[in-house]
Amino acid sequence: MEVIYNLFFYLISFVLIISALGVVFMPRIVYSAVSLILAFISVAGIFVMLNADFLAITQIIVYAVGITIILIFAIMLTGKISEKKLWIAFAPRTLFAFAISGAFFVTILFAITDGFKLVARESNIFSATLPSLETIETLQTEGTTGIIGKALFTKYVLPFEVLSLLLIAAMLGAIVMTKKSGDNLINHTTKTIEED
């Protein structure tokens, strides 16, 4: 059981990292999008391994379906340009990017392993305790949806409600941006209209 769990972890992680790298380094943007879908699905797999079934489903519905579709729409709408030259910028910042990413990784690795100690599990940085089998059992049989739903309507009701307004704001913004404009949303500094 343990071994299978580990193997699954490494498998999914491998797919996830490869597909994420694919998103960045694929020569054509459409391949990137497909790669992104794969990455999202792998993340959902990771969530399943972390006893987060609701999260996994949400991940697939929202990310792998919703967001990627929007992205593909955008790719299609802007697709006239030859993509070859829009691959990777050969600018000084690319070098910096590798350096920064490496530094970032090393720093976080250093921090979470408490200074590269191999036996990190016993470290007391995080209040980590192995989840007891019983709770895992209940989570796996009953699912997390109930807990999350209850929390959303009790403890997190305020952010939940505010989130609705956030979505409205995003919607309004998107509508205004893409609305077919017969109107004159032009440069605000040049046009003058008599007021009052």
């Binding site: 921090a111 940085i125 403890k155 956030l166 409205i168 609305k179 949303l185």
Partner: protein, 502 residues
């Protein structure tokens, strides 16, 4: 009912604002195009009513609402009031701007109101999730507002840059949140405070602090998270730029101050980090402002530098410092808004925003130039303006915090001197240079009533704060007292003035 009690005692203005938002949305979609200006009236009256609803909230005690997601005390109340005042001014400033387009007026005000709701919730958010949602509500509405002038390339570009940098820094902040959550296993700040002292300070804690600071620093445009600010301020509609440089920043400061004082106040490394960022922020802001030719970019760098001064007040982490921050932000709200209002007036009338276009303005528009000059002098901190008292009070808090802070004080003073140069540059353009005929600004500016009232109100308040600095300092002191600073070892301070007299 617990819920109703919470709302009546703590979240009444926010509840009002939500109702107002829904009303505005309905009005936006129901009204015909030519009646859309009604949304402006609704928003303005609603905001003023919301401002009055603060009367019903208990000022002096601390109340939690909705399972500890939101905390209302005098500190958050004063910041919410400031945010509301800033919003009212923004709405009035936008009146002229929105009259340029016919079918997207209502949405503009709705977005501003949603952003304001986010900002107000940000000040008192007491839960990491609440904090995140509030900051994102503010951000996402701001992205949309930035690109509102959608046929203008610059506006689109500004919005896109703002969004990308914003999303990236949000991701970093969330990374920091995840570490904080990992260390304590809690998302509620009150619970975090209870649990956190049980753990040894580790690098993860520092990382979480720095990553969260990156998220807030992006809102405050603190160096090195400031890079978006000049481009966005230049490209975005001017009312939105004013909103970002004032309201959004005030909300960010409120949240950062609470966060810093509640969670990260007992280890000195965090104050060192804030101090480093403060020094960087004001120095870079001032240095880069020196060579600017566009007044909007100049104001962007100026607001970066101003954020640096405020961060300095946070770095001392005393009650004095916090009250200095509050007083500085009160003064900053009005003086900065006044400047933006003047820029908006000039831009709408002439369509120009370069400093050279202001040449010789004082000879034709005496009062307008005077108002702008007062605001700029106040920003520069010339004695006997509100800006001077704000700086004075803040620097005094730093000076009294201990000898360790002396280098900071000296750097701040040098920066203040540096700042005078570029503010005076604009004034010199208006008063000393003559208009050599290239500029279009012939004759008097026709200033519409709403813009005029914004300018007059802000300038008068700036002067008023300069005259009655004492009472405003009292208010900020009162507000700062509700902040608890969990310092284990207080920095040695000159508690007794007589010790160095004798």
């Amino acid at each position: 009912m617990n819920l109703l009690f919470d709302i009546a005692n703590v979240l009444l203005p926010e509840a009002f604002l939500s109702i107002l938002i829904i009303l505005c949305i309905i009005l936006t979609f129901v009204l015909k195009e030519e009646n859309q200006n009604l949304v402006f009236a609704a928003a303005l009256t609603g905001l003023i009513l919301t401002l009055f609803s603060f009367i019903f909230i208990p000022f002096s005690q601390e109340n939690q609402a909705l399972y500890g997601n939101f905390v209302s005390n005098s500190f958050t109340i004063i910041f919410r009031i400031l945010i509301l005042i800033g919003t009212i001014l923004t709405v009035m400033l936008s009146r002229r701007y929105t009259s340029n387009f016919s079918n997207s007026i209502g949405e503009f005000y709705t977005l501003i109101l949603i952003a304001t709701l986010g900002g107000m919730l940000l000040t008192g958010a007491n839960d990491l999730i609440m904090l995140f949602v509030a900051i994102e509500t503010l951000s996402i509405s701001s992205f949309a507002l930035c690109g509102y002038t959608k046929l203008d390339k610059l506006s689109n570009e500004a919005a896109l840059k703002y969004l990308i940098i914003g999303a990236a820094s949000t991701a970093v902040m969330l990374y920091g949140f995840s570490f904080l959550y990992g260390i304590t296993g809690q998302t509620n700040i009150a619970d975090i405070i209870k649990v956190l002292p049980n753990y040894q300070p580790s690098i993860v804690l520092i990382l979480s602090f720095l990553f969260i600071l990156a998220g807030f620093g992006y809102k405050l445009s603190a160096v090195p998270f400031h890079v978006w600010a000049p481009d966005v301020y230049q490209g975005a509609p001017i009312p939105v730029a004013a909103y970002l440089s004032v309201v959004s920043k005030i909300a960010g400061f409120a949240a950062l101050t609470r966060f810093m004082t509640l969670i990260y106040s007992d280890i000195s490394i965090f104050t060192v980090a804030i101090a480093v960022i403060a020094v960087l922020t004001m120095t870079v802001g001032n240095l880069m402002a020196l060579g600017q030719k566009n007044i909007r970019r100049l104001m962007a760098y100026s607001s970066i530098a101003q954020a640096g001064y405020v961060l300095l007040g946070l770095s001392v982490l005393t009650i004095e410092g916090v009250s200095g921050i509050i007083f500085y932000l009160i003064a900053y709200l009005f003086m900065n808004f006044g400047t933006w209002a003047a820029i908006q007036i000039f831009a709408t009338e002439t369509g120009m925003d370069s400093i050279d276009d202001y040449n010789g303005l004082a000879y034709k528009n005496k009062y307008f130039s005077l108002c702008l000059a007062i605001c700029l002098l106040s920003l520069a901190g010339i004695p006997f303006t509100s800006g001077f008292f704000a700086k004075f009070y803040l620097f005094k808090a730093i000076a009294f915090a201990g000898l360790n802070y002396m280098p900071l004080l000296i750097i701040a003073l040098v920066n203040t001197v540096l700042g005078v140069f570029y503010y005076v540059k604009v004034i010199r353009a208006m008063y000393v240079r003559t208009n050599n005929g290239t500029a279009k600004q012939n004759g008097k500016l026709k200033i519409s009533l709403s813009l005029q009232s914004v300018l007059v109100v802000t300038v008068l308040t700036t002067l008023l704060i300069g005259v009655f600095a004492g009472s405003f300092i009292d208010i900020s002191k009162f507000a700062a007292k509700s902040i608890t600073i969990n310092k284990k070892s207080p920095v040695e301070s000159f508690s007794d003035i007589s010790s160095f007299i004798r």
